[in-house]
Amino acid sequence: MSIDAPSSGLLKGFGSVLRRDLLIGARSAGQWLNPLMFFVIVVSLFPLGIGPEPAQLAAIAPGVLWVSALLSMLLSLDSLFEQDRADGVLDQFVLGRTPLSVVVLAKVIAHWMLSGLPLLLLSPLLGLMLGLPVHALGTLGLALLPGTLTLSLIGAIGAALTVGLNRSGVLLSLLVLPLIVPVLIFGAGSVSAAAGGYETGAGLSLLLAMLMMALSLAPLATAAALRVGVASSEQS
């Protein structure tokens, strides 16, 4: 696989960075496999902690799936910019002609494809294990798609703000978790509604609206934060 990019300008820069990060992800399986295993294990802990009562598990299933998905994505966000900073690649991104926010967007999409997408594909299976009704599984996927993407976008701001800091994982969670509460509320709310046989359109549209907002604003904030991180990260 080579990193040839199509067409010109922004698209070329976007495609090149996207391919680069996917290539790196493909060469280190842990990057996408570990968050996935974390997701599975955390979800499996809930029945052990709460008890195997099917009705109770079914009632908490949407919340459990969503919280576990958010936590496991947060786990992988920590490293979103860290390796690039350590290699000095981040400096090149900041100085490069491709706008930094475009680079950021490409990296975020790559991050989502390596962490959010596998979760999304695995979530119906775990939903069934928790006793979520089959007719709610479609809503689960439909809600997780924009929800996890929004998390990647907002989480990138936190990852950029904490880049270069030692033991930044906990701080990153502290910064990002309050900001993604709306995603959790509307995401888990939609799945609960679907499980109960109610209308889910409102929750899903709100998730989409939040995704649109995050898509337009988060890369700019992340780029600004990265410039700050680059300025403070290195001393002679």
Binding site: S2, A5, D84, D87, G88, L95, T98, A231, S236
Partner: protein, 216 residues
């Protein structure tokens, strides 16, 4: 300083990190066609000065000018005229040498020529390492991958942080040759080093950075 037309200049630049002085009241400039070597002991701020000149770090006091215009306003124009190879050389460990050069070319906005990349890497003695991740290479080989960009991107200003570290004699010659070419075509080079590099036919000016006094 001699009266001339500096490409890049800093005037009375100071930078603190907390209560520690990193750079104190630094003034220096470089003109077109000039090669400037920054010297100084560890902790004298060589890396930081290069990052200040690249516009990656903003000074707390004083100003930095690119062709007479102040940073950060001139930051974009400076970045477009700049080839910066930092202390961390900017190659991704999981990627192969030519993949690194391809991404660097696209990001830097220069023509992207995979054949040229392989040719150049072979010239740098990495011909049998093209299919290995950079992380598997030695420090000197990794630096060569980064330095290959000297031959790929035509930029007016080169800022090179310790470009000679971990290089062997052949590598030193190659870098020296590139710097001479750059100066001959009217480009500017600022680099830091601990080694004495002989560059026949090129006047290298030295600037010794004083380690700031922290006693204050």
């Amino acid at each position: 300083m001699t009266p001339r037309d500096p490409v890049l200049a800093c005037e009375n630049v100071s930078l603190w990190r907390g209560d520690a002085v990193i750079v104190e009241q630094l003034s220096l400039d470089v003109a077109a066609g000039e090669v400037l070597r920054l010297e100084g002991e560890n902790g004298s701020g060589k890396t930081t000065v290069l990052r200040l000149l690249a516009g990656l770090v903003e000074p707390d006091e004083g100003e930095i000018r690119f062709r007479g215009e102040r940073l950060p306003r001139a930051g974009r124009a400076l970045a477009d005229a700049l080839l910066y190879i930092g202390h961390r050389p900017g190659v991704g460990g999981a990627l192969h040498p030519d993949e690194n050069l391809s991404v660097a070319a696209v990001i830097a906005g220069v023509a992207h020529a995979p054949d040229r990349h392989r040719e150049l890497l072979t010239e740098l003695g990495l011909g049998d390492r093209l299919d290995l991740p950079v992380a598997a290479l030695s420090a000197g080989q990794r630096r060569r991958v980064a330095l290959a960009r000297l031959a790929l991107e035509q930029r007016d200003i080169w800022l090179l942080d310790e470009p000679l570290t971990a290089l062997d004699a052949a590598g030193l010659d190659w870098v020296g040759e590139r710097i001479r070419e750059q100066a001959a075509r009217g480009g500017t080079v600022v680099f830091t080093t601990h080694q004495m590099l002989e560059l026949p036919g090129v006047a290298v000016r030295s600037h010794v950075l004083q380690t700031p006094d922290q006693s204050e």
